[in-house]
Symmetry: C2
Subunit: 187 residues, 2 copies
Amino acid sequence: MNVISFLQQTIHLGPEIEADLARIIVREQFPKNHILVRPGQYYRRLMFVEEGLIREHYLSMAGKDTTYRFHTEGSFVTADESFIDNQPSQYTFETLEDSVICSISHTDFEHILRQHPEFEQLHILVMHQLIREMKERITALQFQTATERYESLLKSQPSIFQRVSLGHIASFLGISQETLSRIRSKR
Amino acid sequence: MNVISFLQQTIHLGPEIEADLARIIVREQFPKNHILVRPGQYYRRLMFVEEGLIREHYLSMAGKDTTYRFHTEGSFVTADESFIDNQPSQYTFETLEDSVICSISHTDFEHILRQHPEFEQLHILVMHQLIREMKERITALQFQTATERYESLLKSQPSIFQRVSLGHIASFLGISQETLSRIRSKR
DNA sequence: TTTGCTTTTTGACTTTTGTCAAAGACTCTG
DNA sequence: CAGAGTCTTTGACAAAAGTCAAAAAGCAAA
């Protein structure tokens, strides 16, 4: 799904806006396992996954690699610490598949918002969506068992299991790889 | 801290805006243990805690009561499902202390945003703050041990322990009351 | 197809956390 | 201040999840 078409699902884009966008959006192709953003890096771009899959993960001081979340086609992605707070990212962003990523700079983003206020609507929509997802995630981590979280993921994003290694999924669920393997074997 | 003063820390309010706000803001006093919003209720108001403490919690189908979060003086609070999505709230909001709560309706909020675009700035700021906190919360729940989460809370909000019962804090941390008690006894 | 590499599973054991029940401490009210 | 009620701690045990190590399975390239 193309960014522009994606935007058009939500708001009307006049021809001049479309031209504006086409000028500032950068479309790039990345191979599998490419690191897009590494910890400590300032990355002030808003990304949109057109094809492929990004894994966002965290490296603890103990050196453990924990998946914070997966971003699939059709999602907006930012290194929040950088994009929102102008701080170095704490997380790593890497492609897990060959991916096509469109992105615009923070400056252009602000510019667009100022010039075309109808985008503010969309901006807020995206943040609302994010808040909704995060709230669900928190309650799941807070009071569901590992098995329940596994079942939910299986229901909400079954395709992830075809695309991502179980180790990464386990850390996303907040459990060890072995525990996930055992949960899976019991059915 | 008064809402208006609080707002003035971030944005400039001309005298007419202030008058506008004073007209639509409802200031109410509630006793301890008062239920502000219950599950199933549509509650489309943006609240601001001027004094006191709100506990937001969830009732699982098993009847277990789990604290989603605490809202102390100086925070904006909404029943997200209602305010954002116009759906019934899934969570309960109750005061844990005598509290003073200012609130405005969703309609007035939208109205203010339209009439005084400088509020959009603040609106986004508040959402960014929320996203930041939620992200930290998710990573904590995902890969910290109960003890680490306890230590963090003790550091970030020590006063909570004077104000809230340990049972509520335990469920907020995602552990049983007994586990929390044992963590505390080991120091 | 064989080899080497990565991912996944399994087993044995340890640690962490949960559950249930009871005792103790604390608080508020009459 | 006594007594009821609530909150917190403790003990004994059970369940869930983590760790370490090794085997098995899957995959890709020579």
